[in-house]
């Protein structure tokens, strides 16, 4: 890993952007509720606070419970350093689509078993919900990335994303539909409304929040930090899809590219906050219908990828 200016941008935004995104979402939601809302970097202050707190452990839990958040965090950090979530080459090169998908799956596996390990009925049924939801949403997510890979003739994420505009051979329709599919499956993966309400206090309706209900102190801090990194990773990929779609319509100056991706990421945060303020959380039985939209977008994207590929 060489410290180039691109890497420097990566690392600076990696430390600021996740907390900024969470802060922006919370601030906008607060505005719609006539509240002032927490400071934008409150989630960062919370991390500092949680790291200084003691940890309470159930006497029934094993090493799995302790190590789950650590595995999630290190996995997320690895992905953030190897996936081009900004249109620049990432510090760690050579991340493949399938590596990306499987590292995410590994993280999910450990977060699920560590929440079952805690032995609380809440975290157990939440783990079952998480497994069901991700099992349904994963095809959309994988297909959207594969469609991009087909168009780019490579499964290397660095050759799909993070390319200068003139090298970009992926057609507009594939970028756009993949972006939509990633956004919709991102709502599921990131436990946002209308699938899961991150601000509710009702344990029985939760997915992500109930899964980590037994975590406390530094353990919880790692969970929250890895969630913030996941948000960054997903929003980064989605924002690139939309920025590259836009660049097919209007000419964007190459230097403006990283900046516009950052702006689109914040815009996605605003969109999420709007959805969260005005939509109603879906009934559990309606969640597959919502995920079906994500899957159909990714199917459209794959069809477009095959059609355009056959033509060229």
């Amino acid at each position: 890993m060489i410290l180039t200016s691109a890497n420097l941008v990566f690392i600076v935004t990696l430390t600021i952007m996740p907390f900024l995104l969470i802060g922006v979402i919370k601030k906008i939601k607060a505005c719609f509720q006539n509240r002032v809302g927490p400071p934008v970097f409150q989630s960062l202050y919370n991390l500092v606070k949680l790291f200084n707190k003691d940890e309470i452990l159930s006497k029934d839990c094993s090493w799995i419970f302790r190590s789950g958040p650590l595995i999630s965090f290190s996995g997320m950090l690895l992905l953030c350093l190897s996936v081009p979530w900004l249109p620049l080459q990432p510090p760690v090169p050579g991340c493949d689509i399938f590596l990306f998908v499987y590292v995410l799956a590994l993280i999910r596996f450990f977060s699920i078993i560590s929440s079952i390990d805690a032995g609380s009925p809440f975290s157990s049924f939440a783990a079952s919900r998480e497994a069901t939801l991700s099992f349904l949403a994963e095809p959309a997510f994988v297909l959207a990335l594969v469609a991009l890979g087909i168009s780019a003739h490579s499964s290397d994420l660095a050759l799909i994303f993070g390319q200068p505009i003139e090298n970009n051979r992926i057609p507009l329709s594939v970028w756009f539909f993949s972006g939509l599919a990633l956004f919709l499956s991102g709502i599921v993966e990131l436990s946002r409304m209308p699938i899961d309400d991150p601000s509710t206090h009702l344990e029985l309706t939760m997915v992500h929040e109930a899964m980590v209900i037994e975590n406390s102190g530094p353990n919880l801090a790692l969970v929250e930090w890895s969630y913030a990194l996941k948000l960054l990773l997903f929003f980064g990929l989605i924002a690139q899809c939309f920025v590259y779609s836009l660049s097919k319509i209007i000419a964007l100056p190459p230097l403006l590219l990283p900046l516009s991706v950052l702006v689109v990421m914040l815009a996605l945060g605003c969109l999420t906050a709007m959805i969260e303020s005005f939509s109603v959380k879906l009934s559990w039985g309606k969640n597959p219908d919502f995920i079906a939209y994500a899957v159909s977008m990714s199917l459209l994207s794959s069809l477009a990828a095959f059609a355009m590929n056959g033509g060229s």
């Binding site: 006539n34 409304m193 309706t205 939509s279 009934s283």
Partner: protein
């Protein structure tokens, strides 16, 4: 009103009660005891607007249970067991209703001290229903909850995401209210009566005042009657707005929930202008009301005027949202047959085709009659629709009362002596439904027994039935749509 007292033989009681309930114009008010040696069954006749008490003496400390034939007796019998240690013979499922694990078997709060000193201990069955079958698991919720709500324990037996059975355990707020109400001087009674459930302060104070006034033979001035009705409607408005806001929050509509909170503030303002207290505390007293609101009425009307318009905007955007409708439709269904059998009251009753509203039957004739609406679907959507409708009727009633407020005194002198050896009841349509305060006096005119029946006591069973076969994740929506009180139940 003073209740008619009729003695009834123990063997006749059950058939007589069954026959009484066959008439749609008849209701069971409450079942309790005066000192643990008899059963008092309060019956309401809606056609002749009368209350009567059947007094059934029995020997020993057990009686024949009604629950198997009259399901609505279920919680009354459980409460009797907790309060007096009276054992209903043949009760299908006798569990504590008002006391929890923390109390020893000797403790029965309303037994006399002499009996207590005998040290008789009662075996309390604190087990939960064991739902068998492969893959069935239990989720314990509470008594400490994540939100700012009162304590109650819900034991949910689930199969996957479906609720098979819900068992509700309350009694974490037992404060000895009924006992205390017999000990304090008459002038202090109203403060304790209000604290039975503080969100129902006005209704509790009115019911208490009505019962005391009947026993003292007082006639309340017309103006006080109207001011009390005004307080009651403000309370209903405030709590219905609060419950709708809570429902919006549970569905995840943060923005709409915030708007409801703001509007509830305006309703609190109405309460403050009328009574000097945002929660209508210390306003209603036996004989009348505590303060004349004449000089605040102009300000009251100014606050009221924009309220209806603003409420309509928020309610429309909530209740006409397709996602909200879809979310509430068919969730937590309580069939009209069950609602009738378990004697449901109030919003939950009217959403399941029980058209009973105390204001139609027992309220003072000088007051304007409200429009009543009922639904028959019995789901969370019907309960929400009834709440929305009642917000409208409460606003109408407030306007009507304000327009035709009589002049005159606001109170007569507080009573000092009560009629001896009588039973009187105060019945009020609180925002949750029928609220009954029953006072029985001894041969010197002192309060011997003060019984309170909160509407929640009728409705908790309804919730336990309504959540069956619903999604586990829908339990909060079902619970919120019933909107029941823990403290009103626990006494």
């Amino acid at each position: 009103m003073i209740s008619i007292i009729e003695p009834k033989d123990e063997m006749e009681l059950l058939p007589a009660l069954k026959q009484w309930l066959q008439n749609d114009e008849h209701r069971l008010g409450l079942i309790t005891s005066l000192d643990g040696k008899q059963l008092v069954t309060l019956l309401l006749d809606l056609a002749s607007r009368q209350a009567k008490c059947w007094i059934t003496e029995f020997a020993g400390d057990s009686y024949r249970s009604f629950t198997s034939s009259v399901p609505q007796a279920h919680w009354f019998e459980r409460a009797l067991f907790d309060m007096y240690g009276l054992l209903p013979k043949g009760h299908p499922r006798l569990k504590p209703a008002l006391l929890n694990e923390a109390y020893s078997g000797i403790f029965a709060p309303l037994r006399s001290l002499a009996e207590h000193d005998e040290g008789k201990s009662y075996e309390r069955d604190l087990s939960y229903m064991d739902v068998g079958g492969e893959g069935v698991y239990e989720v314990p919720v509470g008594p400490v909850h994540a939100g700012i709500i009162e304590p109650g324990h819900f034991r949910l037996s689930c199969m996957g995401e479906r609720i098979l059975n819900l068992e509700i355990r309350l009694g974490f707020l037992h404060r000895g209210v009924e006992k205390r109400l017999t000990e304090v001087p008459l002038t202090k009674t109203r403060f304790i009566a209000e604290a039975v459930a503080s969100d129902t302060a006005a209704a509790n104070a009115i019911a208490s005042a009505q019962a005391i006034e009947s026993l003292a033979g007082l006639v309340v001035p017309e103006k006080a009657v109207c001011l009390r009705a005004l307080a009651l409607e403000i309370e209903r408005l405030s709590m219905h707005v609060c419950d709708l806001g809570g429902m919006a929050a549970d569905l995840g509509c943060g923005a709409i929930s915030a708007a409801f909170s703001r509007l509830r503030g305006s309703v609190f303002r109405l309460g403050e202008l009328l009574s000097g207290s945002r929660f209508l505390r210390a306003y209603i007293l036996p004989g009348g009301v505590a303060r004349d609101a004449d000089r605040y009425l102009a300000e009251f009307a100014r606050t009221l005027k924009p309220l209806r318009k603003e409420l309509n905007v928020v309610i429309d955007s909530f209740i006409s949202d397709a996602m909200v409708l879809e979310r509430l439709d068919g969730v937590g269904v309580l069939s009209p047959a069950f609602a009738k059998e378990f004697g449901l009251v109030g919003v939950a009753g009217r959403a399941s085709a029980v058209s009973y509203d105390v204001r139609k039957v027992f309220q003072n004739k000088i007051l304007p009659e409200p429009r009543i609406r009922f639904e028959s679907a019995g789901d969370a959507l019907s309960r929400t629709k009834i709440r929305v409708f009642e917000i409208g009727t409460s606003l109408d009633l407030i306007e009507q009362l304000l327009a035709s407020l009589p002049s005159g005194p606001i109170a007569v002198a507080a009573p000092e002596l009560l009629v001896p050896d009588s039973i009187a009841v105060g019945i009020v349509e609180a925002f949750r439904g029928e609220l009954i305060h029953m006072i029985s006096t001894d041969n010197k005119g002192r309060i011997k027994r003060y019984a309170v029946k909160d509407p929640s006591l009728n409705n908790w069973t309804g919730l336990a039935i309504a959540v069956r076969n619903n999604f586990l994740a829908d339990f909060p929506v079902c619970n919120k749509s019933f909107g029941l009180s823990y403290s009103g139940h626990d006494l």
